[in-house]
Assembly symmetry: D2
């Protein structure tokens, strides 16, 4: 939080069939539907999140990511960073208050990897779902499916990650936590604005604006098993896991929503402070860096790199 | 234990390099070396086992299984079953006391699938390793690697599993816990002489006398993760996992010893009583039956079936 | 199962308010209501149990245990044991078929500690709740509360446990797994008819026919935490835990149903085979034997002993 | 990190017997001894910490806390905060570089509750113990005891916590995460400078400068059980647990070092961002707030309050 960016506050993704997607994110992931808007978008949140929503589903012909919004400490942080983004050379667009229900004005900007990001500071706070701020119980009864705790991060890929990484470090105050080096070239970068092992990550690939996965936090390795069981019981398409990542050391499973957007649920992993040196992985160890147990990339991951 | 057979008491396997194998089974699996004999065989046990040894390593040119020995309630059980094995048509061989260090006489017999089995009732009891029978602590300090708790079962494959299954049920009093049916043909059978989800399992394949894996019990799903981490840290060859089996519902990981013998470590899973109906899996669900999360067989498992 | 006794098949307990009790055992423990009878008794089961019911609630003015019934391998086992009970000196009563809904005839007998036991071999099998015997999923969705897996054992106290222990060992073929010795006097005994760390346990005390607790199996230590959380969330009266027992080494928590009957839910612990020596605890280590972490008895447990 | 304070960087505590204390913190907690100085102080760290040390043991006649030092982002942060502390009215003392081996200059200041705190920005970084920053394994082999991961926080008590809380919020930029209110009086406050549920906590009591406990992070609830087992195995004095806190919802166990300083090891719990409202507990719910399962304070905790 060196420059006032708190966390990933929302992601808007495209889904091919809204009803199927809502069913997936509520019944399998365990998110809570919070709102819908006249455009037909559906607003969801995970139960530990205090803001009204974190995931927005938009029906479209092609799956993928519309944008990621980072919540800032206050409006003056947004003002300051908006000016610095312009000075850095970004194209900045101002999105008016309530374009997303319950969300204040957003500052949208582009990036060298072709992804769209936003900054905002104000969003309606509905509080943790099912637990109070007054003598709160440990967790709410009535959670469904995987009981995802929060939208945690996303892994994006595109060309020129050097450019986007520089933007996040220099303008937004993110820190580099882990990286993969191919000789002198940084082919993957994991960045944080907090103590988390990553708030966003980038992998170099020729095609711009791509989404590898959006990721949700679970309570424990036991819950990763339960998630894996639910994937099987619900005939959800699995990618890989349960396993551990080398990078971040999180315990993880990858699977797909009905539109083909990759989801991750994970638990645990490293923590970070700004005085820590980044961790470096050699590109020839990429298999172990990504999938610590198998130590090889599966076909789906290999296809990202080409 | 309908006819007095308690449990798998020992397995003797062939390894290509004894020192490498001992290092693997002690430092990775966490077994304890208990003895060596003039033939050069090495005797190992897991820490919760009260008998002196359960795994015997023999150096040879080809890996695989020499034999599995089942411990019986007493010598009269061995006498009775020996006679019934002969009547059933088995070729029976009497192995004299102390052919294995500290083990009483064994009754060895053949089987339709080409595997060699034994019955015995007497073996030196050294007690649980590192804990006493008097005010015992919960677990011993000083365990290494995966901290395997006991040699649990093996999965064998060969032709005519119908014959071997009949032998185990009719003569030895094992129960059929789970099975895979391809139409009317039972292509896999999981048998128990106890409450365990399996004490032995068989899969139909053309080649006789084959070993798929020997399996060791762990404490928990957390320990399966720890095992997976150790597999990676020690550059041990992994097959698949961590995952869950459909059959038995155990939480598992498969990997290989340095000679290519497949090992499993697992935790949890179903229990069984003799009044339970067997669970049946359809052959077209074999992927899910074996690897519950991926729901497809990997190449290594597919090669077993042909 | 040396003499054909499989397991605890049912326990009938007395509750002061039936509705409150049903709510507790279904919503907190997670048992499933299976039936009611004209006497007003309520029949419950845990989800992994194949028989129709295991717990019977009877409304009465005083809480406690009516009887424990052990399921046998077959009717001829019941006949044989019935005769041996009579010869041993027990008062035997024949309970007719369907006195408990869906249960065959039962042979009821008394014991030196003042408890009433039964043997039976036939009970309607409804199968595991929510999962099939055909390509079964790992667990059923829709379980509530603690998701208890099975009725596992009970701990009883009364005078002359030496007599009841002798009865269980000599007539019913149970094994002594663990014991507490005060000098030469066995003041506590943990007995099994299977691989379980105990199917029944006894503690010496002056008052006859007392119930310390009925116990249900959970999946894991994580589920013991979840149970503890639910105890707090539902304002259920707690006794002690989460903790570990020294005896059996199970991970446990004790609490009370609304009538004051003590419940346990637990996970893990030792396994047993008939060739194992019993484990012995010294009476001066009783605190550690019962509550391994605190190493002292709490007031509730101390009151049992006097 | 609103004003550049990263985390608790070190605590110096007094122990009655240095050898016993070192044995406790290394063999039971699993810390690593890193250095000793001419004064005889012993420097320890937990394995995930990158700085050279976090815990300093000083032999003395009375146990307790000497001081807590917070690591800042850089030296200019220390300069700025030093000036603001003076303006706030604190007595500030400059401690020269290397007064603690490998640590830069420290700014020491007093507080209304009678505790001594420090700020510093420079300390030798030896890196995580047993794992590299280059292709790191998931965890180091060779860890002992509870495998504590980091020194996490401390709970302090004294008079006028309102004053110390104000100091931490206004000058050091800490946030109030949770509080206990007795009517309008805040009798307990949990503060963070990061995403952690607390970096320091205060409870009101008449006696100044008291230490309730120092706390270390563990990996999981499974590791809390393992810690509890080790407490029993090593005859370490236990206070309470395993259990969960209501405040923070962490899973915890309290015990004592040989000098009577209370230790906590814990896992999990809430996370925090600066836009979160504080959680409030009523004083009449203090039992549940502190010990979520028992819902009553034990005698040791009650004695803190008087």
């Amino acid at each position: 939080m060196k420059k006032g960016v708190l966390r990933p506050g929302h992601m808007q993704i495209r889904v091919l069939d809204l009803d199927e997607a809502v069913k997936h994110y509520t019944e399998v992931l365990g998110l809570i539907e919070m709102d819908r808007d006249p455009q037909g978008r559906v607003y969801l949140k995970a139960w530990t999140e205090v803001d009204k929503f974190s995931l927005v589903l938009r029906e479209a012909d092609v799956p993928g990511l519309d944008f990621v919004g980072y919540k800032c400490l206050n409006e003056s942080t947004v003002d300051t960073l908006r000016q610095q983004l312009i000075e850095y050379g970004c194209t900045v667009e101002d999105i008016h208050e309530n374009e997303l229900n319950g969300c204040g004005r957003r500052v949208r900007f582009d990036s060298p990897t072709g992804h769209v990001f936003e900054l905002f500071a104000s969003k309606e706070q509905t509080g943790r779902w099912g637990v109070s701020n007054h003598n709160p119980e440990a967790w709410p009864r009535g959670l469904r499916g995987m009981k995802a705790q929060r939208l945690d991060h996303c892994l994006l890929y595109g060309p020129n990650i050097a450019g986007t990484v520089d933007l996040f470090r220099e303008v937004l105050g993110f820190d580099l936590v882990e990286q993969v080096l191919d000789g002198d070239t940084r082919v993957a970068a994991f960045l944080t604005s907090s103590m988390k092992a990553h708030d966003v990550a980038f992998i170099e690939c020729p095609e711009p604006g791509k989404l590898h996965h959006i990721s949700f936090l679970l309570e424990s390795w036991d819950e990763v098993l339960r998630a894996a069981d639910l994937i099987s019981m619900t005939d959800t398409s699995i990618d890989i896991g349960p396993t551990r990542h080398g990078i971040t050391h999180g315990k993880t499973i990858y699977f797909f929503d009905p539109s083909g957007n990759r989801n991750e649920v994970f638990a645990g992993g490293n923590y970070f402070y700004s005085d820590h040196e980044p961790i470096t992985w050699d590109a020839e160890q990429l298999g172990k860096a990504i999938f610590y147990h198998d130590r090889v990339l599966n076909d789906a991951f290999l296809s990202v790199l080409t």
